[in-house]
């Protein structure tokens, strides 16, 4: 009896039941070493099989388990119950995205934007494999490495009010990924990506709220990537205007 418990208040929405969303409260056992996701799995297995959510790796790398936990976007497999105990924990789907059901959001928009920024290596000339690897020094790897760490968890989108207000905004992760390739010494596609970045809904909608960087579980620093993209776009612009005939 003395076993401690903790309450999870979970956002429920079901399209077929057509009702407005509501919160349901579940009392679950409290364990020191449980993450919020463990609690949710407990509910699914023992109490209510109808709860829908995404998860897989439960080690913070697949990026599928993002949720709003007490109003903050977190990976539910990296948020420990002990951070909240003994208070109840409120769990909602990631902010700013449409909700498919319960904690499952619709991520079409992000998938579309990801593709928009051409996140692949663009080369004028493909070198045959027989010539070996493209050389890249550790310092050159460092140049883009941080931006290559994005797990597409979209916590940054849920943290960014600008995205909440303007869904057309390209958003932090997509821009960070564009920068990841722009800054890769093997890549030659910066000008191509600039067509997408250097637009109002691209980098210019960002007002440097900076919450994307705070939310990012793997320290990508999307805010920084956007700032750098703005600087580059500006330098490009002045070059284009001032040296319209010159080498760009």
């Amino acid at each position: 009896m003395a076993e401690p418990t903790i309450a999870l208040e979970i956002f429920r929405y079901h399209p077929e039941q057509g009702e407005a969303p509501s919160f349901r409260r579940y009392e679950i056992p409290y364990r020191e070493d449980w993450v919020v996701l463990d609690g949710i799995n407990y509910i699914k297995d023992q109490i209510d099989g109808t709860l829908a959510y995404r998860w897989s790796c439960r080690m913070g790398v697949c990026g599928s388990c993002g949720m709003m936990i007490n109003g903050t976007p977190r990976l539910s497999c990296a948020a420990f119950l002990r951070e909240y105990f003994p208070n109840p924990v409120r769990v909602e789907p990631l902010a700013h995205f449409p909700v498919e059901r319960d904690l499952v959001i619709v991520m079409d928009d992000f998938m579309h934007k990801l593709r928009e920024v051409k996140p692949w290596l663009i080369r004028g000339q493909e070198t045959p494999l027989s010539e070996g690897e493209y050389r890249q020094t550790p310092a050159e790897v460092d140049e883009y490495k941080q931006y290559s760490m994005c797990i597409n968890c979209m916590l940054c989108y849920a943290a960014c009010p600008v995205y909440g207000l303007e869904p057309r905004f390209l958003g932090p992760a997509a821009i960070a990924l564009a920068q990841r390739y722009n800054l890769d010494s093997r890549d030659e596609g910066r000008r191509e990506r600039q067509e997408v970045l250097n637009t109002e809904e691209g980098i210019w909608d960002c007002t440097l709220v900076g919450e994307c960087t705070t939310a990012c579980p793997v320290h990508v620093d999307p805010a920084g990537s956007i700032q750098r993209a703005k600087v580059t776009a500006t330098v490009d612009w002045y070059k284009d205007v001032l040296l319209p005939w010159g080498k760009r």
Binding site: G49, A52, M59, C62, M107, L114, Y134, T137, P138
Partner: protein, 593 residues
């Protein structure tokens, strides 16, 4: 009200058939590589990837340590072949291993050309690290998030091919075989809950492993052996299923993996007395520096087995989640830890509450990888025409009785690409489809799925069955097994199968019904688990990861053979197939010299 009951509407949905030239089931490393190979082989082919999760969520993402291929001048193909065959305890097909080792460097270079951020030497060339069971450093790495970088590089590269379609969050439930040819699958579109028919001239299964049949595993929730089960039900044998790899260093409780790279970089394993116990199991000498193919850099089967012996001797450390030993990396120093294995530090800190820079990491063996899988030939072709398999779900036979760390990511690439190319050729020459018959099959499948929810008086809760299954597997088919434990596991699995027929779901709706998906996954796992237990029961010898206490010796006379498990109405039928031996006759497996 039960939306599934209305079979007419299920039939109506079938009017819309989605048709492609090639369907790849699975968006992990193998699936993406296969899909890209297929479109590159023939850009006119219309290729689609069906995946139950968005591709970048595939479990390839969690691979940490690296991918093996010969690139350095001090290395040779011969050595890599030799290591792989020795590691496999001579159960790998040697022609396949040769092809694998030969094609591996180009596959990893191709990844490099697609942008993979491989770690580098100061001169800008690819850096390699040592790995267990390998004579020479040949494991390419991108710090310790190799699977993550590999998967995202492949996924992002796949976005540039216009002719690639994706069905993300579609759960394949059945292979549709007609006229002896696999011509498509039926799949549930999670968002709407519709059962849809997807037609194709060739299908490539890349659905990954099945570690979730065990309670304590490094595998993510999605690794439930679906593709293995689908192929098995369609009549394809599952090969070498008794060989289940335990990774020696998982975090207790969660089973989160501490990569072998931690040992590759110089980490040591010690028991409760701080003693490097591996030297007692024929793996010494305990040099203070990492010695290749010895001690902590021995193969995973041997190291995991040594743990069990230490535990029996009472020399392990008791912990809240069972006994552990210590993986000590403190002597590497903070700088090396942060540049070479930063993720290890992060995981240990987050999930074990310790900082490896200052404290040793508690670890214990954990189920990690299925050596077995869907039986294929060297090109990924299964015995059913038009059906291919690659990656962890397949068994092309490079891993035999024990896989060497860092061979499997490379395997996904090499054989993913091979399967993709061969499926493309097949699809170009077999254009006809038996549409009406396939539609009828898919209708039946929709009905079957609809009947699963237990509205007709089911009582069994799937979480309960799942727990009992994993317990049976752990108790009966663990690191050490014997006839008694295995027969018991077989019996329990049989009763679980009967009980599965009486499950009851809380969720009777359609949109994103994850409980229904969990039930289908459980059904797949039960099939796979049975294949594992029965194959293990029949193999009365010890080899690699399959250790029978009642038959402790390797028996080449009777068992230099692959096990083939065929699905029947009752227990699986077990058959055997000779191992292909070319230039490397079976010998004793020697490590530590």
């Amino acid at each position: 009200m039960n939306p599934w009951q209305n079979t007419n509407s299920a039939a109506d949905q079938m009017h819309e058939m989605l048709e492609h030239d090639i369907l790849v089931i699975g968006g992990g490393a193998a699936g993406l590589r296969a899909a890209i190979a297929a479109v590159q082989t023939n850009p006119r082919l219309n290729v689609a990837i069906v995946s139950k999760v968005y591709p970048m969520r595939s479990h390839t993402v969690s691979a940490e340590g690296g991918a093996a291929a010969v690139i350095k001048s001090n290395d040779s193909l011969e050595e890599h072949i030799n290591d792989t065959i020795t590691g496999s305890d001579w159960l790998a097909d040697q022609d396949v291993v040769e092809a694998f080792v030969r094609e591996a460097p180009d596959e990893l270079l191709q990844l490099e050309h697609w942008g993979c951020p491989w770690s580098r030497e100061p001169d800008g060339s690819i850096a390699v690290r040592p790995f267990g069971g390998m004579t020479i450093e040949r494991t390419w790495f991108a710090a310790d998030k190799v699977g993550f970088h590999l998967l995202h590089t492949l996924f992002q590269t796949s976005l540039k091919f216009e002719s690639l379609t994706r069905y993300d969050e579609w759960f394949a439930t059945k292979l549709l075989v007609e006229n002896g040819r696999c011509q498509g699958v039926s799949a549930i579109e999670l968002r709407t809950g519709e059962v849809r028919l997807l037609l194709a001239k060739a299908v490539i299964l890349c659905t990954g492993g099945a570690g979730r049949i065990y309670p304590f595993t490094t595998n993510g929730a999605i690794k439930t052996g679906d593709g293995m089960a689908m192929a098995y039900r369609a009549g394809v044998p599952l090969k070498d299923m008794e060989f289940v790899q335990y990774h020696p260093t998982g975090l207790p409780g969660t089973g989160i993996l501490i990569t072998e790279a931690a040992r590759g970089e110089g980490g040591i394993l010690v028991n409760k007395d701080g003693y490097r116990y591996l030297q007692d199991y024929g793996m010494g000498p305990p040099d203070p520096w990492p010695r290749l193919r010895a001690m902590e850099l021995g193969p995973r089967d041997k190291i995991s087995q040594a743990f069990v012996h230490e535990m029996r001797k009472g020399r392990t450390i008791a912990g809240p989640y069972g006994d552990v030993v210590h993986l000590d990396v403190r002597h590497l120093g903070e700088t090396k830890i942060d540049t070479k294995i930063p993720f290890v530090r992060e995981l240990a800190h987050r999930y074990a509450g310790i900082d490896p820079v200052h404290e040793p990491i508690p670890v214990r063996p954990v189920v990690h990888y299925m050596m077995g899988g869907v039986h294929t030939d060297i090109n990924g072709a299964t015995p059913i025409a038009g059906l291919y398999a690659a990656g962890e779900s397949a068994c092309v036979s490079i891993n035999g009785a024990n896989r060497l760390g860092s061979n499997s990511l490379t395997e996904c690439l090499v054989f993913g690409a091979r399967a993709g190319r061969h499926a493309a050729a097949f699809a170009a020459h077999h254009r006809s489809l038996d549409r009406a018959a396939l539609a009828a099959q898919a209708r039946d499948e929709a009905k079957r799925v609809a009947g699963l929810d237990g509205t007709d008086g089911g009582t069994e809760r799937i979480a309960m069955l799942r727990t009992e299954m994993t317990r049976a597997m752990e108790e009966g088919t663990g690191i050490y097994r014997d006839e008694g434990s295995l027969s018991k596991a077989c019996d329990v699995l049989r009763t679980l199968r009967d009980r599965f027929a009486r499950i009851r779901l809380d969720d009777r709706t359609r949109s994103f019904n994850t409980e229904l998906i969990a039930a289908l996954e459980l059904e797949c796992m039960l099939d796979v688990a049975e294949a594992v237990a029965h194959s293990a029961l029949a193999r009365t010898e010890s080899r690699g990861s399959h250790q029978r206490t009642d038959h402790p010796k390797r028996d080449d006379a009777r068992f230099l053979k692959h096990t083939l498990a065929y699905s029947t109405d009752g227990a699986p039928r077990i058959d055997y197939l000779d191992v292909v031996i070319t230039r490397w006759p079976p010998a004793e497996r020697v490590y530590g010299r």
